[in-house]
């Protein structure tokens, strides 16, 4: 630390000796980082599948895993930020389908350009995020309950409205409508690097993770997110805009939900209205495995990305190894339990008073 203080002269009172200050050991500093546990787990699982699944050992399957991870990881980043901010969003899984359906059905029925439909869908999703946040902040009801409500409303409406409009539970093929190819290029294109297919969502995922990491660690907004999750009253008392920050987080989740919804729509041209259910838990698991505290105030974006990568790696690794894919859920459950235990331990370690 540089010493540039102007007053007082050192003779008036002895300043505390700098020797009182210690730098914590490397192991302590590492342990205090949220993503370390997830990283260790990811490496172990990676080695495990390298050994036991021959099909796992190629660049192509690695990028397939990255693609699989990105479809969960994009929303999981936002869910992770929301959880650091101390809230939950159970509607994050079905909102992806809602986003795609709004776009698809508006354009099909009213002959709109798909870009117009995509923007309307975005506004609609942001509105849902806003309503989630507004209700949580204004009523004080836990976000778990509010968004559970939104989850059921959206799940029911997805199916109900789709049936009313199309007569079946899937949306119509929109690949002939204006704007399809440009939207597909943005949300659902892929390119070849040698033998490897890289989906654009992987690039988007990396960008969103980098952005989220920057926001959380290096900006005022990030400081506020940690503060509103760690101690909302204290944050509010020093002038942090609690309500705006939290509503903003809910809207971020619905924005990235919309983004993945666009990917699904422009990749497959049609959507099954009943899909998306259950994904909200995958996002939460990715965040928790990545070191985010369920109670808020702790976590980071890289950890959440590693959590999503573990999800992608396991869900495909089991297939590559030729095992019954049903084991995947059991494995996910075990990972979650382990992650929660590690988090608990880490939190205790990093907040315990160090004596001496």
């Amino acid at each position: 630390m540089t010493n540039v203080q102007t007053s007082p002269p050192p003779s008036t009172a002895p300043l505390p000796q700098p020797s009182n200050r210690v730098t914590l050991g490397l192991s302590n500093r590492l342990l205090a980082r949220p993503e370390v546990g997830a990283l260790v787990a990811a490496i172990l699982i990676f080695i495990f599948f390298l050994v036991s699944a021959p099909a796992f050992r190629s660049g192509e399957s690695f990028f397939t895993i990255l693609y699989q991870s990105s479809t969960i990881g994009i929303v999981a980043v936002a869910v992770g930020m929301l959880m650091i901010g101390g809230e939950f969003d159970l509607s994050a899984g079905v909102i992806t389908i809602t986003a795609g359906l709004v776009n698809s059905m508006l354009c099909w029925n009213y002959g709109m350009n798909l870009w117009v439909g995509a923007v309307v869908s975005l506004v609609f999703c942001l509105f849902i995020g806003f309503v989630n946040g507004y209700l949580v902040m204004k009523t004080g009801i836990p976000s778990f309950l509010i968004t559970l409500g939104t989850f059921f409303v959206l799940q029911g409406a997805n199916l109900g409205v789709t049936k009313l409009v199309t007569g079946s539970v899937s949306s119509t093929d929109i690949s002939k409508i204006d704007g399809f190819s440009s939207l597909q290029a943005v949300f659902a294109s892929s390119f070849k690097v040698g033998p490897v297919t890289v989906w654009i969502t992987v690039i988007w995922w990396i960008l969103f993770v980098a952005l989220a990491a920057w926001i959380l660690q290096r900006t005022r907004t990030g400081n506020w997110i940690f503060a509103v999750g760690g101690n909302p009253d204290s944050a509010r008392a020093v002038g942090v805009p609690l309500i705006k920050t939290k509503i903003g987080l809910f809207m971020t989740v619905s924005f990235l939900g919309w983004f993945v919804g666009m990917h699904l729509l422009y990749r497959f041209n049609t959507l099954q209205a009943g899909n998306g259910v259950g994904n909200e838990f995958l996002y939460i698991i990715a965040a928790v495995v990545g070191g985010t505290l369920l109670t808020g105030g702790y976590g980071n974006a890289i950890g959440v990305a590693i959590g999503a990568f573990i999800f992608g790696m396991t869900s495909l690794g089991i297939v590559y190894a030729g095992w019954d894919p049903n084991w995947f859920k059991a494995f996910l459950g075990v990972m979650l339990l382990l992650a929660v235990l590690v988090n608990l331990y880490v939190k205790r370690m990093s907040t315990a008073r160090k004596v001496g």
Binding site: T219, F226, A227, V240, A352, R353
Partner: protein, 274 residues
């Protein structure tokens, strides 16, 4: 002490004139639904003076703080800050008027680093645009320097503030308020959870803030601590004022007796008749 006072004076508003009223409350009252938590409170906070608000649990101390710090608006009487009547809509508004509150138990976010806590709500940014980076090095340096100047030694400015002792956390919160140019400092039970030595440190800060010209509101249920630093004493009971005296008009004995229950206690001793 010199160190502390100099540092405080350095950051204190040069416009402050000792004895000048900063906050004037006139007949302030507050009801939560059918419950009247506070009524008819007259209180002045003058620059360079410590106004002590004493009272038992449930006397209305917290409500009074919440009105002054902008957490809850009052619904009776008038609140003037620097002579202008107003009602605060949020803690931010109160802070913008230079009124900073240090709460007993919600002063800091324990999982966040010391330097992040120091700058929380007043972060230094590289620019005004959204997502502008924080000036992290500068923030760490300033937080470290300011805390050292005030005699608070933390092992590592990057450690979560939850690893500090209660007294240290309280002092970081006070140092932060003063550094960010508070003109009125509201201290909510700053010594309640502390041992004798740590209480002493907090009381020295309180005195130093007063000497630097700040108006201090010191909320406590400990008359001994209040009498060490106070210029003016108000005792609250069931939402009303039962004592309102200057230091020259009241002694520690009277304060202690009033706090212990005053006349009621005398009555009780008759009833118990020993």
């Amino acid at each position: 002490m010199t160190v502390m006072t100099d540092t405080l004076a350095e950051h204190a508003d040069a416009q402050l004139r000792k004895g000048e009223p900063l906050i004037e409350m006139d007949g302030i009252g507050k009801s939560y639904g059918a419950i009247r938590a506070l009524r008819g409170i007259n209180l002045r906070v003058n620059a360079g003076e410590v106004t002590c608000v004493l009272g038992d649990n449930g006397a209305g101390k917290s409500t009074l703080i919440k009105i002054m710090s902008g957490l809850h608006p009052h619904n009776e009487g008038s609140l003037k800050v620097d002579g202008k009547e107003l009602t605060f809509g949020s803690p931010r508004e109160a802070l913008d008027h230079g009124i900073a509150t240090v709460y007993q138990d919600l002063a800091v976010v324990s999982l966040m680093e010391v330097w992040r806590n120091f700058f929380l709500g007043s972060e230094l940014r590289a620019g005004k645009y959204p997502l502008a980076g924080l000036r992290i090095k500068e923030m760490k340096r300033i937080a470290d320097e300011e805390l050292r100047k005030m005699g608070i030694v933390v092992k590592d400015i990057n450690q979560p503030i939850g690893t500090l002792s209660g007294g240290q956390r309280q002092c970081v919160a006070i140092a932060r308020a003063v550094y960010f140019g508070a003109r009125v400092l509201i201290l909510d039970e700053p010594t309640a959870a502390l041992g004798v030595k740590q209480s002493g440190v907090v009381l020295k800060y309180t005195a130093a803030a007063r000497d630097a010209g700040l108006g201090v509101v010191f909320i406590t249920h400990n008359p001994h601590h209040a009498y060490l630093v106070g210029d003016h004493f108000i005792i609250l009971k069931l939402g009303g004022t039962v004592l309102d005296k200057k230091r020259s008009e009241v002694g520690l004995d009277e304060l202690t007796t009033q706090m212990a229950g005053g006349d009621e206690l005398t009555e009780l001793s008759h009833e118990l008749g020993r």
